[in-house]
Subunit: 207 residues, 2 copies
DNA sequence: CACCGCAAGATTGCATGCAATCCTTCCCAC
DNA sequence: GTGGGAAGGATTGCATGCAATCTTGCGGTG
């Protein structure tokens, strides 16, 4: 993409995922343009892009807002992730380099030590993102990022019970073990459990 | 989206999916703006949008082109569809109205009669799109449209063998029967076979 | 007191203009 | 004859300006 627009999009994406803009926050073009010292044109382009990524929604003549998902949509997003992300992990395992394995190890162990901090969601995003990238399938990565991003916006680990959070972190560690063992099937199974655990705690039990 | 930009995007989307612009065709901003009697601004916005939809790819300072997928990417797109579209059909079946069932019937039977015409791909797109919409899950629809669009660009039924095309059309009819019976499991199974059949003929046998 | 209509301010949508980058082609040196 | 390089044209990227639309606050009316 274009340099300035790319920078604006990246900055906005980071800030939205970091929670700087809460869900539903209004994103005025002029305000963003002023904040980043660019014209409104690249801002509009970035907003368009983020809208397609599922991070913001644009209403004609009414501006852009950070997306708000209904509980139903959140549940659906997990259904999609459950069907794609385990597959991505299975594909990724045989392609992981030693360097990437170490990085995953770092992320998993760090997440255990940092506890409930704001960096936890960042580390989690990196962890899942690394697997998605390592799957080596641009279409898969595109499809998954759209839904994982949308989920992350509403995920801050605050809702996790002590038990659920503990399980989630152990899943990461176990997934790295499975990856080191080269067992894609194992890693895929853990990812499936990982997402079910997340779904149960985020959405609540089956109604 | 904005009125003019929306119109440009829709027009471009239709023309790309209709094959007016072949895969890899250059999409100059000035040319498109002139053709549709708008300024370059909405054209740029539409191209950005279509890029996010996976229909075109934008290279910085080098303009936009209709996407070209490698065989590997096409194969991956089918892997994604195989994991999402049967699920979408299963969800859609209990939600289909009588009117939608009739429409599906029309589409399926029409596709049998028209034979290998250029409208076949359009009808096919409507058929699959109706199921996707009827699933009633915006995130699922978004994820699926991105990959199905990209696949349609490279799909013109020319590569289908007589047998494969026959199977494909019968699948549609059977899917409608399953939907009328309210049997989501049945419809889901046929959709899975339908996609495997398409994958086999479009990609070729397993290497 | 509540509700509807209206006008001013604010914001978005599009057109246009200019600078930056890329592609083409021609020329020159080897 | 071939390869490298530079100038010209063409195209993209961004900034700015203006018209159209929406939001907000106020006044009037029932």
């Amino acid at each position: 993409m274009r340099a300035a627009a790319e920078q604006v999009a990246e900055s906005l994406r980071d800030e939205i995922l970091a929670g700087v803009f809460p869900s539903g926050a209004r994103l005025g073009e002029a305000e963003l343009a002023g904040r980043l010292s660019v014209s409104r044109t690249p801002v509009r382009e970035a907003l368009s892009r983020l809208a397609a990524e599922g991070l913001v929604e644009i209403q004609p003549n009414r501006g852009a807002r950070v997306v708000t998902r209904t509980p139903d949509e959140l549940r659906e997003i997990f259904e999609i992730r459950l069907r794609l992300e385990p597959y991505a992990v299975c594909r990724a395992v045989p392609r992981l380099t030693a360097r990437q394995l170490d990085e995953l190890d770092d992320l998993a162990t760090t997440m255990v030590t940092v506890g409930r901090s704001s960096t936890l969601v960042d580390l989690n995003r990196c962890f899942h993102g690394l697997f998605i990238d390592a799957a080596g399938s641009p279409p898969l990565a595109q499809a998954l990022r759209a839904v994982t991003h949308a989920a992350v916006v509403h995920q801050n680990f605050h809702d996790y019970s002590e038990d659920a959070l503990d399980r989630s972190l152990r899943h990461h560690v176990e997934m790295v073990a499975a990856a080191r063992a080269g067992d894609g099937e194992w890693a895929e199974a853990i990812m499936r459990a990982h997402l079910c655990n997340a779904r149960a705690t985020m959405i609540g039990g089956r109604p």
